[in-house]
Symmetry: C2
Subunit: 340 residues, 2 copies
DNA sequence: ATCATGGATGACAGCGCTGTCATTCGTCAA
DNA sequence: TTGACGAATGACAGCGCTGTCATCCATGAT
């Protein structure tokens, strides 16, 4: 296989009988080139199969068309939905994505921020607002739009798209109380900062309801899974048989609770209420359908990209702008207790 | 905020009192630099907070440290597992990932291949072996390692890590027959090429068993989901009430079938056997636990990256090398019929 | 002492593109 | 007719790094 030199701007320019600069302009800013020249250039590009070299462009212009995305994990389906939103938001743009995963380690996150920023990205999307001081300093100094997603909170670095996990979980807990449950518990895995705030919302709800003496919480740092939901629920009722409802940190756990309850012939919703978090598609399909606090992960990703695109187009929101996508409690049969 | 010029190799060189070339070498090939100089350079780098410019490196060397990954979708948890394997395989390497999603569209895939190749990646990972002729031609001409994942098949482009979906599904169907089911059906969504081959395996198994007269298959091009499993199963038993088992194209559908069967009080496994595909973690947690054909998506991603790393290190496998990760039938209660 | 050897280092040019001017030319108002 | 103006185009230099050679010097064999 012959090592054929790649065709360059100059090749195109020669064929189209213009200067390389004009070709460059025709590519980036077609308006600025006469229709005549533009046509010849387009033809030449097609004939030569020319593809621009992004490294050269990046070096010369100090910009790339890549948006860096830094999330804790790809195998968490919350982030899968976010990514889908990001890719959809990218449609009809020149932008690409570079993805990094932190595995929930702040030091890894900081390193990724450093690496990504060194590539002079068009924008950066990071999950959460619990960056290490170092990472935060880097991001504040970044000369590209930075979007913190997942969560709204104090002191945004630049742009924010998220929701209040505290409030969402607090409302979920309140829903359990409103449905007549008197001894709700919290089940949590992978207790990242957002999970911690959900837990705080749960606790405050109980305190506000005068049920604060106890702390019916079972958590683990393990990654979340359906099986883990089974195990945590088993632990929970072993130590607190009086529990009559569970607020789960996410839907996987809720599904595990459902299965474990079925195994033990615990009747849902009468003997046990179940509320998940996120409202993954499967929640409505389950038997009984499972109540959950719906979050719009897809829109979170999509909105983040659109914020960046707006900024790049010069009509973006100012630094500090936050979009609160909110949440929605979706009551289903799993908490529809007939007699309190 | 002052636009501070980034520190460059020359700045480091000046501080360390060596030439820029030596700094460059110290970074890429520390062995070739004297310990003395290396120490001064390391110190200077730390003092200046120097971070190399990957665009400049890419332009000068014609190489990048980025592996392109082209998959159909990120929200399919099969690919989420693959991605996790990829990121784990990347540990302790300089490599990064650029991810593109095709949305199951061959034209999008071809375009992504073109764009990614223009970035002169360190390697490329693509899902499946049903690339368009154009994409295939580009990949064959690529001067970087190319790994086709998910599936083993004829005429590999370069390297392959996968399994035979045909055989895996055929074994799944055979398991249903061996368990005493006489009228198994196939449920499929998002009928991509791999799903088609699974379906073919199912059909051939039935034919081989003398049950080929009929074609008990319900499929849809819609993306897979648990709810869709419910609906497809409802359709199935409406048109073919005699069905006594289902082989599902994936685990989401299987879970949907379970829920729908529960809703209709169809007893599992006696009245209905359920077999999924992939053996997602939730399958073992379900009640009853669900039989599935296990595939090692994680290892698929990991092995793909390791193949690329080996190649880059000069000790890789030759073109055409394929790794068949196989599959494993995991029988559980959902197909454990007591009386055939 | 002399020369070949190889490790360490450096000079030079250039990767392909774009920012910043400068230049050309046609058009229109005065 | 003239000058001013703006659209279209081009020349030049340089982004930060690396490939390819060339150079230097200590070492050990002769």
């Amino acid at each position: 296989m012959e090592k054929t030199r790649k065709t360059t701007l100059s090749d195109v320019a020669a064929l189209a009988d213009v200067s390389p600069i004009t070709v460059s302009r025709a590519l980036r800013d077609p308006e600025k080139v006469s229709p005549d020249a533009r046509a010849r250039i387009t033809l030449a590009i097609a004939q030569l199969g020319y593809v621009p070299n992004p490294a050269a462009r990046a070096l010369a212009s100090g910009r790339t068309d890549v948006v860096g995305v830094i999330i804790p994990s790809v195998s968490n389906n919350v982030f899968a939905d976010v990514m889908r939103g990001i890719y959809d938001g990218l449609q009809d743009s020149q932008l690409g994505v570079q993805l990094g995963t932190t595995r929930y380690a702040p030091s890894t996150e900081e390193q990724l921020v450093r690496v990504f920023l060194s590539q002079q990205p068009a924008g950066l999307i990071v999950a959460g607002h619990d960056q290490s001081p170092g990472a935060r300093a880097l991001l504040e100094r970044a000369d590209c739009p930075v979007v913190q997603i997942m969560e709204v909170g104090p002191q945004p670095i630049d742009l924010v798209v998220g929701l209040s996990h505290y409030q969402a979980a607090r409302d979920g807990a309140q829903h359990l109380l409103d449905s007549g449950y008197r001894a709700p518990a919290f089940l949590g895995a992978q207790m990242d900062p957002r999970s911690q705030r959900r837990l705080a919302g749960f606790r405050d709800c109980l305190i506000a309801a005068g049920l604060g003496g106890d702390d019916p919480v079972v958590t683990t740092p393990e990654p979340s899974s359906v099986s883990l939901g089974c195990r945590l629920f088993a632990d929970l009722i072993a130590t607190r048989p009086q529990t009559d409802a569970v607020l789960c940190n996410n839907d996987d756990l809720a599904l595990g609770v459902l299965f474990e309850a079925q195994r033990r012939n615990i009747r849902i919703p009468d003997r046990l209420g179940i509320c998940g978090f996120n409202d993954h598609e499967m929640m409505s399909a389950a038997e009984p359908p499972l109540t959950s606090v719906a979050t719009d992960r897809y829109e979170m990703g999509r909105a983040a990209i659109l914020q960046i695109r707006d900024r790049l187009a010069g009509r973006g929101q100012p630094r500090g702008h936050a979009i609160d996508l909110g949440y929605r409690l979706v009551p289903r049969r799993s908490t529809a207790r007939v007699t309190p």
